[in-house]
């Protein structure tokens, strides 16, 4: 800043070669400055809002489309596939073995996705490399039992209406952190409207404070 000030002070006194000549055009310069300001502002503002999120996240498609609504309709609940094991740990995304309780290497439906699943995974006995939207980093310990059973929480509180979707949206991975976009949320400002919009540590702490009267200790959620 001091350099700018020095230059500005220089101007009226010994503005030598260009200061005097350009005198009459001062107003125009200011106008041009405003235009540049506005232009740059707009470009940066808009790209910050529109382009930046696109650059920040890389999009990855799931191995094939999964229709949650269809499965919920057939099976009736979330817990058949995403269940708590007897030891209280959470099964997470079902493995191939679970799927094969109903599916065989003969596609059950007409869609291409069914065919991909049957041919590439069931027939070859290969696990589907699903990309997990709600995946937390390795340092996080999360007990589904504590939240669902002890806390009586609904799946939707954190996972939203994923059970009602008929198509798998692309998985967006943050290029800097490597985390799923769902952790920060769709809104690039991190503003949340619903409880499931963001799953950062502060969100856990807010809910804990509200429900338990205490934000908790490090080891409650970390390992």
């Amino acid at each position: 800043m001091s350099e700018l000030e020095n230059k500005a002070n220089d101007d009226p006194g010994g503005g030598a070669h260009h200061g005097i000549n350009n005198g009459p055009e001062d107003d125009k310069g200011l106008g041009l400055g405003v235009i540049f300001f506005m232009g740059a502002f707009l470009v940066c503002f808009l790209s910050g809002w529109l382009l930046f999120p696109k650059l920040l996240y890389s999009k990855k498609e799931q191995p094939f489309n999964f229709d949650h609504s269809l499965h919920v309709e057939e099976i009736g609940d979330c817990e058949t596939c995403h269940f708590l094991r007897e030891d209280g740990t959470f099964s997470g995304i079902p493995g191939l073995e679970s799927c094969m309780e109903c599916h065989t290497d003969e596609p059950m439906g007409e869609t291409d996705d069914e065919a991909v699943f049957a041919e590439e995974y069931v027939a070859q006995g290969k696990e589907v490399p699903w990309l997990i939207y709600a995946k937390q980093p390795d340092c996080v310990y999360f007990s589904h039992a504590a939240h669902i059973v002890a806390g009586g929480m609904d799946c939707k509180t954190c996972h939203g209406h994923i059970g009602e979707t008929s198509s798998s949206r692309p998985y967006e991975e943050n290029r800097i952190t490597g985390y799923s976009r769902d952790i920060w949320g769709k809104n690039i400002w991190g503003i949340k409207k619903n409880s499931w919009d963001r799953m950062k540590m502060d969100d856990c702490a807010d809910c804990h404070l509200e429900e338990m009267g205490h934000k908790g200790y490090c080891f409650q959620c970390h390992k």
Partner: protein, 285 residues
């Protein structure tokens, strides 16, 4: 609500007369907690062993010599007055270590730690270790790592967690079965491994637990030193550097006086005063 729940205070008592120095606790800890190893571990200053077995001797010549092995995990200090201000927790500028008021366990969060090592300087027990290098496993060996404990990286401090993940796992089981955790459901890896049965682990607050019965902790501050809380009322039980008021949750036990005396540095004549002084009798509580 955390406040409404029964507050645990997990701790252990190690019988130094039973410990044979076999090292099973150290290896059980290392394999339970993804502790790495280097090609040369003979420089013990940079060798990471959450549980370390020290060797003490009475200094007499053979065959009068006696040695005692002293296993030293993190002492999970409650700090002065047992208010949770452990020496390490108090100095951490990053809140990478905190005191769990519901368990009495001192945590260490690797992603949060930035490696200033203040906690190592503050710890009177050398229970904290710094990762001077990235951990490296020989090709393929990373396949045995456990998902319940995060592997560390260079530049962070690590230490014993009383196998907190085992508490988490036991708690999940208890939750789905709608009951409290049983004493034997949450045991640290060193405790279960000890072939001599020298380590007893449990809730110091729970009179039904063996650790409580052996230690008989005095709930009141020591009248001679108000910093000290939870002093054992068992004359054979002591804590390391007890008078500092760090209030560790690891107690030691020995029939031998020289061993109990080795738990602190005493000035001439000081021990004579201390050795007969134990926690107040239970009539106070």
């Amino acid at each position: 609500m955390i406040e409404n729940k029964k507050v645990h205070k997990f701790g252990m008592v190690i019988d130094l007369d039973k410990c044979t120095g076999c090292g099973a606790c150290m290896v059980s800890c290392m394999s339970e907690n993804n502790v790495p190893f280097k090609e040369d571990e003979s420089n013990k200053k940079d060798s990471i062993t959450w549980m370390r077995v020290y060797k003490l001797t009475n200094g007499k010549s053979f065959p009068e010599t006696e040695i005692v092995y002293l296993p030293r995990p993190c002492q999970h200090c409650g700090g002065i007055g047992d208010h949770g201000h452990s020496p390490c927790v108090s100095v951490c500028p990053a809140t990478a270590t905190d005191y769990g008021y519901d368990t009495g366990i001192v945590s260490q969060i690797y992603t949060r730690c930035f490696g200033c090592r203040y906690c190592m300087g503050a710890c009177p027990y050398h229970a904290r270790y710094f990762n001077w290098w990235d951990p490296k496993w020989p090709e393929g060996m990373e396949k045995y790592l456990s998902p319940n404990v995060s592997p560390r990286m260079r530049g962070v401090v690590e230490k014993c967690s009383f196998c907190y993940h085992r508490y988490q796992l036991a708690r999940e089981q208890a939750i789905v079965e709608d009951r409290e955790i049983e004493e034997m459901e949450y045991q640290t890896a060193c405790t279960t491994a000890c072939p001599a049965g020298a380590i007893v682990f449990g809730d110091l607050n729970n009179p039904a637990h063996k650790v409580h019965q052996i230690v008989k902790p005095d709930p009141h501050p020591d009248p001679m030193n108000h910093k000290v809380v939870g002093k054992s009322r068992n004359p054979k039980v002591f804590r390391l550097l007890e008078r500092l008021g760090t209030n560790p949750k690891v107690y030691y036990m020995s029939e031998r006086e020289w061993v109990r005396k080795a738990g602190d540095n005493y000035l001439k004549g000081e021990w004579e005063n201390v050795k007969t002084h134990h926690g107040a009798s239970s009539s106070h509580g």
